[in-house]
């Protein structure tokens, strides 16, 4: 077990393109760190630099206080699960899992004991003599994990390990990985582009964009106090709505003039902070909209009610999505389009996606009254993308809270370690109960 420290890491390819640019990141001992970002953001490259499969152009990579910039992968004592598992097809499951131990020249007896233990942990015991070609996708995934955990590695690295599984299996394996990491308490770096994995698995999440680190924090911090426009748009699904707004100061106070209507400035920002910016972007999450007729009087006062034309609705049973198109100035519309393209969600028109109570009777093509919880809105500088309403105190508080939760969990884990393990695994983990119909 070890901490991983990255200092000003740069990866430049032959043509001078920086795939990873000046990333500094601390992964603490035993922490579960997620690297997330749209495709091509450099998250996999960063992971491969940690494990040593990619050279570091400049900067310093430390594992357990040892500088490893020039250390070969095999001497870093890390283990990795590849996206396509990279199992050795000519070896049985047993030998696949035993491979790292065989290379370390461990005695036969120890190899057998540890492989058997690992196989039990992952419920692979009955498959030990089979070849990878004869296994299902989920089983192969577990073999790859077995190979990673069989030796006492300093850290586990996962490179989008679940992206090849179907949705149902992915959910099961997600829980499995989480449980395994908590139980073993090994430092883990996990690369994904999947929102759900990022939010549910990690102690902390690092968001990358074009090789530059945008923000590191607990999932909650990223969601509630995003550092900039990119993080705000990337975290959350459907993503945050961005409305262009101009500042309108009059006798009765300062207001934001948006395409959806006029509303009061959130408490956490003053007109002075917006300064002389002509236009700002107001970010409101879909769930902070509500059908005005379903909002109680006292709640209504916290926000603003606007008139909006609802274009399309989607009723999902537990939620109702409504699409509200709006007009935006040409240059801002182009900027928002670029942003949505970068977030891998090519949005063609400027429209707000709002999540309403499914009891709402708002239907398509209707003029509706929508209530907006403006106290939860964020305001961004369109030029720099910076979040002008980020509450540093709250960020610090959230950080402390997450850290404490992690420590508590680890203590609890350490307390019940030897005896609790087997029972836990047996009752909770039943990955073998894959539905027989699940495709491979």
């Amino acid at each position: 077990m070890a901490a991983i420290t990255m200092k000003n890491i740069v990866k430049q390819y032959g043509d001078g393109f920086p795939a990873v640019n000046d990333v500094s990141l601390d992964v603490q001992d035993g922490e579960f760190m997620i690297l997330v970002g749209p495709s091509g953001c450099g998250k996999s490259t960063l992971l491969r630099m940690i494990v040593g499969l990619e050279d570091i152009t400049s900067g310093e990579m430390k594992i357990a206080d040892r500088v490893v910039n020039k250390v070969a992968p095999r001497q870093r004592n890390l283990s990795m699960v590849f996206q396509n598992y990279a199992l050795y097809p000519h070896l049985t499951v047993f030998e696949n899992i035993a491979f790292p131990l065989r290379l370390a020249k461990k005695p036969d007896e120890e190899v057998r004991r540890r492989v058997t233990e690992t196989a039990e942990l992952l419920e692979l015991t009955e498959h030990l003599e089979r070849k990878p070609a004869n296994l299902s996708g989920g089983q192969r995934q577990r073999v790859a994990m077995g190979r990673a955990i069989v030796r006492q590695a300093d850290a586990f690295l996962f490179d989008e390990p679940l992206s090849n599984l179907d949705a149902k299996l992915r959910g099961q394996m997600r829980a499995e990985i989480s449980r395994l990491q908590r139980r073993l308490g090994v430092t883990t770096v996990y690369v994904t582009h999947d929102q759900t994995e990022a939010m549910t698995l990690g102690d902390r999440v690092a968001v990358l964009r074009k090789g530059v680190l945008q923000q590191v924090g607990s999932p909650r911090e990223l969601y509630e106090e995003p550092a900039n426009l990119f993080v705000a748009g990337f975290i959350g699904s459907p993503s945050m709505n961005f409305l262009p707004a101009t500042l309108d100061s009059s006798a009765e106070g300062t207001f934001l003039e948006t395409p959806l209507g006029r509303f009061g400035l959130p408490d956490k920002i003053t007109a002075a902070e917006i300064g002389d910016r002509d236009v700002v972007l107001v970010g409101i999450r879909p769930e902070h909209f509500e059908d005005a007729s379903l909002v109680s009087e006292e709640k209504r006062a916290r926000g603003t009610v606007v008139q909006a034309h609802v274009d399309v609705t989607e009723w999902l049973g537990n939620e109702l999505y409504a699409y509200v198109p709006y007009e935006a100035p040409e240059d801002l519309a182009a900027q928002l389009r670029d942003l949505s393209r970068e977030l891998d969600s090519d949005q063609l028109r400027t429209q707000a996606v709002v999540a309403l109570d499914p009891a709402s009777m708002i239907s398509e093509g209707q003029e509706a009254e929508l209530w907006i919880d403006t106290s939860r809105a964020h305001i961004f500088d369109p030029a720099t993308g910076e979040n002008l309403t980020r509450d540093e105190e709250r960020v610090a508080a959230l950080g402390r809270q997450a850290e404490q939760a992690r420590l508590r969990q680890r203590q609890a884990q350490a307390g019940q370690a030897p005896t609790g393990q087997a029972g836990n695994g047996a009752t909770q983990a039943k990955p073998d109960q894959e539905p027989p119909t699940s495709p491979d």
């Binding site: 494990v51 040593g52 499969l53 070969a72 992968p73 095999r74 890390l78 283990s79 990795m80 590849f82 996206q83 396509n84 598992y85 990279a86 199992l87 050795y88 097809p89 000519h90 491979f99 790292p100 290379l103 370390a104 070849k131 990878p132 070609a133 004869n134 296994l135 996708g137 192969r140 190979r147 030796r151 090849n164 491979d440």
Partner: protein
């Protein structure tokens, strides 16, 4: 179109082609069982009196037996050395970035296309001067140099098929580059290595031009060249049947090898390496 009918047409077509290609082989086999005097005198495709006499003659003559030993020895040594080199070269070409990579590949291709006959004259002179004429190495060296390009191209195609991750996984698991190559890449490339080895072996085994021109005695003369030196029982008798018997004998190993390794050549071992 009626499927049953099309299947019949396919079957007939296949039989015709089979007959077309097998006829010369069958003819040689049939000739090898005829009496030496029967050729040219008695009409008919099949021998009138079946006889093993030709085979006995062939194995009794030292020309053939020593040639057989030469052929086997030279071909095997050339194959082993050639394929070993080709495996290493092909691995480097498929996996490593180094200057001159394209040059090596184009050179290999150029050598493969080079007309063999044009080299015979210079080699004959050179070999005689440095004492390689009529020796095993004198044949092994040109065989290797002509078999290498083919083997390199075949093998590098195979190596490229093996996912990079296999090797990277091995390295992360604690393997040195050499260990990763030996324990992961070579076993996965086994079908490719077999294919390359068999192709190389056939090339050496079937060669006639080098065999006839770079040898002069039983020291190193391989079978295809030795066949030309057969004589009949008397000067009035052509050695046709004996030559045919010898031809059958040298064809047998080729057929056996192909039958033995057919499955290995065809089977792709990599299935199941990555997600299915």
């Amino acid at each position: 179109m009626d499927t049953a009918r099309s299947r019949w047409l396919w079957l007939i077509g296949a039989l015709l082609i089979l007959l077309w290609t097998l006829l010369p082989t069958l003819w040689i086999v049939s000739l090898s069982f005829k009496q030496p005097g029967e050729v040219g005198n008695v009409k008919g495709f099949l021998p009138k009196d079946w006889t093993w006499q030709n085979y006995e003659t062939v194995f009794d003559t030292s020309i053939f037996t020593s040639a057989l030993i030469n052929s086997i020895g030279i071909s095997l040594i050339a194959t082993v050395i050639g394929v070993t080199f080709a495996t290493l070269v092909a691995y480097a070409i498929a996996r490593l970035e180094f200057p001159g990579k394209r040059a090596i590949l184009s050179f290999a291709l150029a050598i493969a296309m080079f007309p063999v006959v044009s080299l015979v004259g210079p080699l004959f002179d050179l070999w005689r001067n440095i004492g390689l004429y009529d020796t095993w190495p004198g044949l092994i060296i040109p065989y290797i140099s002509f078999a290498l390009p083919l083997a390199i191209w075949t093998l590098s195609a195979f190596f490229r098929e093996i996912p990079w991750e296999m090797e990277q996984a091995a390295q992360v698991d604690g393997a040195t580059t050499w260990q990763a190559f030996r324990k992961v890449i070579v076993p996965l490339a086994a079908p490719g290595v077999f294919t390359a080895a068999i192709l190389t072996f056939f090339f050496c085994w079937n060669d006639f031009v080098f065999g006839i021109s770079l040898t002069s005695t039983d020291n190193a003369r391989p079978v295809p060249a030795a066949l030309a030196f057969f004589t009949g029982a008397s000067q009035f008798e052509q050695p046709t049947t004996a030559i045919c018997a010898a031809a059958v004998v040298v064809t047998i190993p080729v057929v056996v090898i192909v039958l033995l390794f057919q499955r290995r050549i065809v089977a792709g071992l990599t299935s199941g390496a990555v997600k299915g």
